[in-house]
């Protein structure tokens, strides 16, 4: 029995079960249809899990644990997930490192610095960023950004040659424009709108009176942000960052076009790489063999579970922060 907090005006007084007779068929029918529509979400999620798992059994059984946890994926004999997982994670992390400071900076700018009535055009600009389709970012990336970065990467690589940590990160001989780092940059651009807008929502719930309290102690605006705004928004912003992380990991087309085409685990960020989503997109057409196709679907399942997990944690953070804002 669902717990309703207030009496449902559509049920006759005194009836315990809202589905008891006396409600016209059309009314009940409508409720049923609405319920089914809502259930679709759950149904689809469950079906995705089940069907992809089913199709990946060939991969599981043929490659086995050892095969799946290996690095190489060549579409022939090796179907390891670790190499592409590495690419997904590394490019997403780079995207976060570049994108998060920018997103939070924008969120703070639009909530604390720019007066409320003037903020709208800025928000429109950020929305523009979000509306550009992934494939267009990829097109621009591969035709404009990659060749331009290629030169820069080469310069950096020769510059850091020999220096211990920097060389393993930014050096190397196979440096190319299409690489982990370029994918990370494009991801940063693409996840900034969502992180920024979710953060803005959270930051906007900080009560004015807390901000006044800080100002009344003689704080500058930055000190006020650190003292009054940040402690309130911490949890929510972390949630926003995780949502962005999930988005970055699932981003397919833009990454596929600029990450290069080689599956390997390497510290060289300017090397060509691959990601889970990109490899599925690029190689599905060529996947004729049973195990190949099964492996790609299995990778899809893997990505599905991964992004759902990250999103669950993210929403938990955001809900918790929202609850705190209402309660405290």
């Amino acid at each position: 029995m669902s717990t309703m907090t207030k009496a449902d005006p559509a049920t006759p007084a005194g009836s315990a079960n809202p589905l008891q007779r006396r409600r016209p068929l059309g009314d009940r029918g409508f409720q049923l249809v609405a319920l089914v529509a809502g259930l679709l979400v759950l149904i689809i999620l469950v079906l995705i899990t089940v069907t992809t798992a089913q199709q990946s059994t060939t991969w599981f059984t043929t490659a086995g644990f050892k095969g799946i946890f290996s690095v190489s994926f060549d579409g022939n004999t090796h179907f390891g997930a670790m190499g592409v997982l590495y690419g997904t994670v590394i490019s997403s992390v780079i995207g976060l490192i570049v994108g998060v400071p920018v997103s939070i900076g924008i969120a703070l700018l639009l909530t604390q610095v720019v007066p409320a009535r003037l903020a709208r055009p800025f928000v429109y600009v950020i929305d523009l960023l979000a509306v550009v389709p992934s494939v267009v970012w990829g097109l621009w990336g591969i035709i404009v950004l990659v060749p331009w970065l290629q030169k820069i990467y080469h310069d950096i690589a020769s510059g850091v040659k020999g220096i211990p940590v920097l060389d393993s990160l930014f050096g190397g001989d196979a440096v190319g424009g299409a690489s982990f780092f370029t994918a990370g940059l494009i991801l940063a651009i693409m996840i900034t709108p969502i992180i920024s807008s979710l953060s803005r929502e959270v930051i906007a719930t900080v009560p004015d009176i807390d901000k006044e309290g800080a100002y009344a102690l003689g704080a500058t605006r930055w000190e006020m942000i650190r003292g009054a705004v940040w402690p309130h928004s911490q949890g929510g912003v972390v949630g926003a960052i995780l949502v962005g992380f999930g988005r970055a990991m699932g981003e397919t087309i833009a990454v596929a076009l600029v990450i290069g085409d080689s599956v390997e685990v390497t510290s060289h960020l300017f090397y060509s790489g691959h990601s889970i989503a990109a490899i599925i997109a690029l190689q599905f057409g060529e996947a004729t063999g049973g195990e190949f196709r099964s492996a790609l679907i299995g990778l899809g399942l893997f990505l599905f579970v991964l992004t759902i997990g990250v999103n669950l944690v993210a929403r938990w953070f955001v809900e918790r922060a929202a609850r705190r804002a209402r309660g405290a």
């Binding site: 079906l47 700018l109 523009l128 097109l139 404009v144 992004t307």
Partner: protein, 300 residues
Amino acid sequence: MMAAASNSLGQPVDLREPSGWRRSKNQIMTILMWLAFVIVLIPLAFVLVTLVAKGADAISLQFLTNSTIPPNVVPLGVGGMGAAVVGTLEITGFASLLAIPLGVLGAVYLNEYGGNGILARLISFMSSVMTGVPSIVMGLFIYIIWVLHFGYSGMAGSFALACLMLPIVIRSSYEMLRLVPDSLRQGSYALGATKARVTVTVVLPAALSGIVSGALLAVARAAGETAPLIFTILTVEQTNPNLFSGPDTSLPLQIFSNAQSAYVGANARAWGAALTLVAITFILMIVARIVTALFTRNTR
């Protein structure tokens, strides 16, 4: 005039700016915040300028309507992207037809019927989570349950896009329905209306513009998606007028394949298709904004 005076101990009281480093820190931070905004402006401007510059060369009436997509090696001027334009409109249109009513109904369930029950909270939570599912997974899903049995078709692509749009429409419609004041519902109940009637005749109309604008944004998002279509519509070189059978193509797919080609002609077509796609998306977004603006005016 100097901002100085004496306090009760006779010591000078200075009301000028706080010490240098506090003030500098504040200014630096403000500058950094502005810088953050400028940093995102740069790629955005860059992309839009390139898009317009390179795309405009390719766009022509022939480009938009000619139903034969030439092989990559062929230079610009022959054939066009008509097949892809039609494909995009049809596939996205059908997906919207599926996802929008179902999404709105789902939101109606959550807000009007579900209350605080476990099921409603679960559906609400999982819809949020589902918006984060990569679109490629939706494509794989439809591939498995539909394409493997019934083959590639534009409709399969629509199914995949609809799966993508559904949680977005549910969430945005839900937020709009929540905003409808309860007094409107009470007034209708008091006249003896059933819940269904209240919802359809009072609540939905009140939330309509918000729902519409949210739906338009979902459509814009779906129109730009590539990954779900890779596994569901395959590709064609001629317009496929039949949405329900046979492979199809769409603008994002064409951009994707042409982008990977080394030929100048293919790249030029990619830019033209990209400009067309972005124009469609922008128009949808602008219409959504206009609808929202009308909404806020009506509630004043």
